[in-house]
């Protein structure tokens, strides 16, 4: 990894969000969630591994600060519900941990770092379906980079980021990568 | 019989020097059924010329141990196809083992096999008689009658099975003294090898295959050497496969006891590690052993403790080998590749020279089998059995396809040196330019 003079060091690429901007975006999303769910009534946050999980925890913490509300938080791994299993080698599974009380009759807010084709979210909806029957499901993402392949739309977006399909979006979070930031690089893998 | 053209083989080298006692290029003239002359500037008008530059001439090879499967298992091999394979391997005589169906335990069966051999004409077939009726190990077969028959049996063996009853083995050894016979033992204690699949060792432990311990062979050999000495009769040990066996035979010979022994080509080259993929082409009785055994067997063949190479050519149809290991038949073919394997295992390693090969693959086997007319060094007046071999032929991968009906060769895909160019039986070529004549 090369050191760069920009505040977001690490990968080659252009920084599009720095730590401060991420913090503000999450604050805004937390407020929006509270607005649209009548103060967070019956809401649970489920992060999609890997980086959706720390994002969900941060949102839960924010909501707790603003409203004094303890929003149940957990994770939902979608690997077994993906539709591209035959195209890629089997991946390792992430953790699925539902908060006590489950998902029945709750408003589940799925949290992920990047929304792209929408297939991950579709898999998450399928996975949720096998776990119970939520009252409603909403979607919060830090970055929406466009190029949807399914009729999926986010309810809460940190930043809209138009990209070309050749570009790669890297989200870095302190809990996973040691620092916060969002970068775009060309080509990549 | 066919018309005998004369053959003048020019520019050939006779290992051991032939008449001159030196190894240099010479010529061999074959007229009628014999070697008429050996010398540098021979000429014979009307003789067919064979340019043998770069080739060596060995006395026709003699196999003490072959399974021709006829009568009874003609799906695997017949006398016709088996002897054709033998000729392509440079053999002019093979001893056909008795474990046919019906078993060769009567004059009738051995004479049938003998006649089939003569009719095929690719090499001489010397039938081996069973030691016991039906190979059952209970009663002696009519050894004397088989000896007196047209087949003139001298070598007796229950090969495939061991004559494990010590009393019966003693009686057999004693009985054949009357007609200078020899008992060839397949040394395998049946109780120690019930259900055995592979050499007992690291491989068998890892692969979960029932082990065939070396001691099951060695204990029988030790016993039989003592018996042969006690009754002063000739014992021949088939397919020696372990270092311990070789040591026991060396000890017996050092006492002057009448013991001879053979080793197969595959036991000179292959080890039990080949069983790792459970391919039954490597399943054989006695089993492939370890590197240490291979090394000791080569040494014993080189110093003459083991007298000769014998192929134990054991053809099997495809379905007998294309199955689970435990279900598969034991045995490997070997007639067509024997000389090349010995070339690789013994000559290329410097353990034996070509004169030694001639001794181990022709002279001694003929002597042990009491086969007059074979295994005689190439000098004027000798019978016209010879093999022309190209030791400098580029190494080529062995293909399963050959003259034998069966394809179960463990050497498939392996590069072996050398090439049998021609084989002559009583002055007539059975093989020319590597193909049946």
């Amino acid at each position: 990894m090369c050191a760069a003079s920009s505040p977001v060091a690490g990968r080659d690429g252009v920084a599009v969000l720095d730590a401060e901007e991420i913090r503000r975006a999450l604050t805004r999303i937390a407020h929006e969630i509270l607005e649209r769910t009548h103060g967070g009534d019956g809401v649970i946050l489920l992060g999609i591994p890997t980086r959706g999980v720390p994002l969900a925890r941060r949102l839960a913490a924010r909501i707790g600060e603003f409203e004094g509300l303890d929003v149940p938080c957990g994770s939902l791994d979608v690997t077994m519900h993906r539709d591209d299993l035959r195209l890629h080698p089997a991946r390792a599974l992430g953790r699925t941990e539902l908060p006590p009380g489950g998902v029945d009759a709750k408003t589940v807010v799925l949290v992920d770092d990047v929304l792209y084709s929408g297939r991950t979210v579709r898999a998450a909806l399928d996975a949720l379906n096998d776990l119970g029957r939520p009252r409603a499901v909403q979607l919060a993402v830090l970055v929406d980079r466009g190029h949807r392949e399914l009729p999926i739309r986010p309810d809460y977006v940190g930043k809209n980021l138009p990209t070309s399909q050749r570009e790669v979006v890297h989200v870095l979070l302190a809990e996973v990568d040691g620092q916060d930031g969002v970068m775009i690089s060309d080509g990549g893998r | 019989m066919t018309d005998h053209d004369s053959w003048l083989i020019k520019g050939v080298t006779i290992p051991g020097g032939g008449e001159q006692g030196r190894e240099e290029q010479t010529s061999i003239l074959l007229t009628g059924e014999s070697v008429a002359a050996v010398g540098p500037d021979l000429d014979h008008p009307g003789a067919r010329i064979l340019d043998a530059g770069g080739l060596i001439a060995l006395p026709g090879l003699v196999d003490l141990h072959t399974h021709l499967r006829e009568p009874g298992r003609e799906d695997a091999e017949t006398v016709e196809t088996g002897t054709a394979a033998a000729a392509l391997g440079g053999y002019t005589a093979v001893h056909a083992m008795a474990n046919t169906d019906p078993v060769a335990d009567t004059a009738g069966v051995v004479e049938q096999v003998w006649r089939l051999g003569r009719a095929a004409g690719h090499c001489d077939v010397q039938p081996v008689g069973a030691v016991t009726v039906g190979l059952a190990g209970a009663r002696l077969a009519e050894l004397g009658t088989m000896a007196d028959s047209a087949a003139r049996v001298r070598l007796f063996s229950d090969d495939g099975r061991c004559v494990s009853d010590p009393l019966l083995m003693r009686r057999a050894l004693e009985y054949v003294k009357a007609f200078d016979g020899v008992i060839a033992q397949h040394a395998q204690d049946p109780r120690l090898t019930e259900g055995a699949q592979l050499n007992e060792g690291e491989m068998s432990a890892r692969l979960g295959l029932a082990g065939w311990p070396a001691v099951a062979e060695e204990a029988i050999i030790a016993r039989d050497c003592l018996l042969a000495a006690h009754v002063s009769s000739a014992l021949h040990v088939c397919h020696v496969s372990t270092a311990g066996s070789a040591e026991i035979i060396r000890w017996a010979k050092s006492k002057g006891w009448p013991v001879t022994a053979e080793v197969t080509p595959h036991h000179l080259l292959l080890t039990d590690e080949l069983a790792a993929g459970y391919d039954p082409v490597f399943k054989v009785n006695p089993p492939l052993r370890t590197k240490a055994d291979v090394t000791e067997l080569r040494r014993a063949l080189a110093d003459g403790t083991i007298d000769c190479v014998a192929t134990d050519h054991a053809p099997h149809p495809v379905e007998a080998k294309e199955t689970e290991w435990a279900e598969a038949a034991f045995g490997m073919t070997g007639l067509e590749t024997a000389l090349r394997v010995v070339h690789r295992a013994m000559v290329d390693t410097g353990l034996l020279d070509w004169a030694g090969v001639a001794d181990r693959m022709s002279v001694r086997p003929a002597r042990i089998g009491r086969l007059t007319g074979h295994g005689t060094p190439l000098t004027a007046g000798a019978p016209g059995h010879l093999t022309l071999y190209d030791p400098a032929a580029p190494a080529e991968a062995v293909t399963p396809a050959g003259a034998s009906k069966s394809r179960n060769t463990p050497f498939a895909g392996m590069e072996l040196p050398g090439r049998v160019v021609a084989t002559f039986l009583r002055g007539v070529p059975t093989v020319l330019d590597g193909k049946l004549a």
């Binding site: 519900h81 080698p89 089997a90 991946r91 390792a92 | 979960g208 294309e322 199955t323």
Partner: protein, 322 residues
Amino acid sequence: MKRHLISAADLSRADAVLILDTAEELASLADRPIKKLPTLRGRTVVNLFYEDSTRTRISFEAAAKRLSADVINFSAKGSSVAKGESLKDTALTLEAMGADAVVIRHGASGAAHRLAEWVQGSVLNAGDGTHEHPTQALLDAFTIRRRLRGTGPSGARGAGLDGLRVTIVGDVLHSRVARSNVLLLSTLGAEVTLAAPPTLLPLAVGSWPCAVSYDLDSELAKSDVVMMLRVQQERMTAAYFPSVREYSRRYGLDAARMARLPGHAIVMHPGPMNRGVEIAAEVADSVRSTIVEQVANGVTTRMAVLYLLLGGMEFPATGVAQ
């Protein structure tokens, strides 16, 4: 052999840990109302069982069905096999039916190897003769890890079995479970000791990655896990041991021996048990015994293996796509 699981030796430590971690995630499935995942929908898994083994077959069947795969059961009794059809011909038939995976249990060592040469799909060895039974070893390792290293959120994700001492007792010579366990448990970092009479140990056991003892009693106090192998009565007639009574006295795990185990130690058995021969009834039913949970763990572990193999993983895998 890369897209197959035929021997525990096929698995690197990273592979084995991945399988255990995957199984750990799948374990919670049993507590959900819908015990099914759509992952292997449209795939066909064939259970090719030449030996009667309802227990293992049902385990594989449950595993495949929970992943939504189609399962076809082929048992030897009363089938074309009983009429003499060769393994090769059966394999070609399965090929023609488009089996994505074949789970094979067979009485001949090496049958799984041979089958792998004749089918395109993945071959899972469910026990071949006296050679190996890798998924048994995996479920045993999974059971050990759960019991002795933890489960759930604070569980042992990413962990092997380092430092754990496992004693395997019984007829090692004829045991495919023992062979697979010696390989797998030592790959995962456990110290394995075999305890048996000399007649029931392969001569070459010295080259295996384990210790050997002829005296069970001396191993008890230092064992974290005791795994009992089934001993067949037929071994007596082949002179492997003089009598069942003597075998039981010297190598059976009775209550007195169990009491000498460390407090945390567990007792395992691949089943089926000979109660009263290698294991006393009160031991089999005690709280230390993992025999019942081994069954549930078997389904979970086999789900993990099916998912990874049919998902295109090749063992040993050098890396995992994230």
